[in-house]
């Protein structure tokens, strides 16, 4: 059982779903308030979706200076696993823990609907239980979801295998190279625009997102041939 800290900012609104998804995957998940600087021996930290600090100035720009981000940055520098979902991804980019930035959707509309996403990298703490090239259906809910990186950065991301998820078929927001999620050069910091926590059980219409959370547990399970299959969505507690 891994300890998973879910950070709560004023304006976070996916924190409860994220906590539930981590617990359903078997983790010991708990909240950490944005003013806290102690992650309480977290194995992994998740920055959930929402509108931290009202998205004022730019999405994630103000959350980046909250006290907890110092602790998250230290955790990341020490090689600890960090996942940013949606607004959490925006915060990680603003904080410089991930390259690039997230800008207004190309067609300006706030989009809330399921999209197809392809898993491009399975050597991160949050995608270990997926197959490379596998296509998933995950919900998006964002107005500022267009991932942008300059040509040199995008080329580095592609060459280093740092594109973790890519929109398959339709790109909803006009992101560079159809990118839906990336990881750091060290591979321990991961950001994703779609919401895996909103699709982790059949009652939610599918469980394609469950293995993001199960990957954390699988990573530390006794390395036994059956373990990965055991966490492949079927042992999910609902």
């Amino acid at each position: 059982m891994r300890r998973v800290a879910v950070v709560v900012f004023p304006g976070s609104n996916c924190d409860a779903d994220t906590l539930d998804a981590a617990r359903a995957a078997g983790s010991d998940a708990y909240y950490v308030w944005h003013r806290d600087t102690d992650l309480r021996q977290a194995d992994a930290v998740i920055l959930p979706g929402g509108f931290s600090y009202g998205d004022y100035l730019r999405s994630g720009a103000i959350a980046r200076f909250s006290p907890v981000l110092q602790a998250v940055a230290a955790h990341a520098r020490a090689g600890g696993a960090v996942l940013g979902i949606c607004n959490g991804f925006q915060i990680l980019c603003e904080a410089g823990l991930l390259p690039g930035a997230l800008m207004r959707n190309a067609r300006l509309k706030f989009l809330s609907r399921p999209v197809r996403v392809r898993v491009e990298a399975t050597d991160t703490p949050f995608t270990l239980a997926y197959q490379r090239g596998e296509e998933l259906t995950l919900p998006i809910a964002h107005g500022d979801g267009r991932y942008v990186a300059d040509a040199a950065t995008a080329a580095l991301l592609e060459a280093g295998g740092q594109v973790v998820w890519r929109y398959a078929g339709d790109n909803p927001n006009g992101s560079t190279n159809d990118i839906a999620g990336v990881c750091s050069a060290g591979r321990n910091v991961v950001g994703i625009m779609p919401h895996p926590e909103r699709r982790n059980a059949p009652v939610l219409g599918g469980q394609d997102g469950a293995r993001v959370f199960l990957s954390l547990e699988a990573r530390h399970a006794t390395q036994h041939a059956d373990d990965l299959r055991a966490v492949d969505g079927r042992h999910l507690r609902v």
């Binding site: 730019r58 103000i62 980019c93 800008m103 067609r107 267009r146 006009g174």
Partner: protein, 84 residues
């Protein structure tokens, strides 16, 4: 210490798609302003600063821009300092 009013213009970098600017351009076309070219939308911030000199005020505000007010990945900024 003197008081300065600093005006900061933050604009999306020219190479990047600015969908907000495009939407405004389309609306202007629809209103009959057909002779306009590209429209871009940015932010204008006004900050009151106490500093010993104009240079110091400028330096302070540039640091604010680098750290918070502009995103170095996507935006450029311009700073204009006025005595109050």
């Amino acid at each position: 210490m003197k008081a300065f009013t600093v005006e900061i213009r933050v604009m999306p970098r020219a190479a990047l798609l600015d969908p907000q600017g495009q939407a405004v351009q389309h609306a202007l076309h629809a209103l009959g302003f057909t002779d306009i070219g590209t429209v871009r939308v940015g932010k204008h911030l006004v900050v009151e600063v106490q500093a010993a000199t104009r240079e110091e005020a400028t330096a302070q505000v540039r640091t604010m821009c680098d750290r918070l007010l502009a995103n170095p990945v996507t935006e450029d900024y311009h700073v204009a300092v006025e005595n109050r």
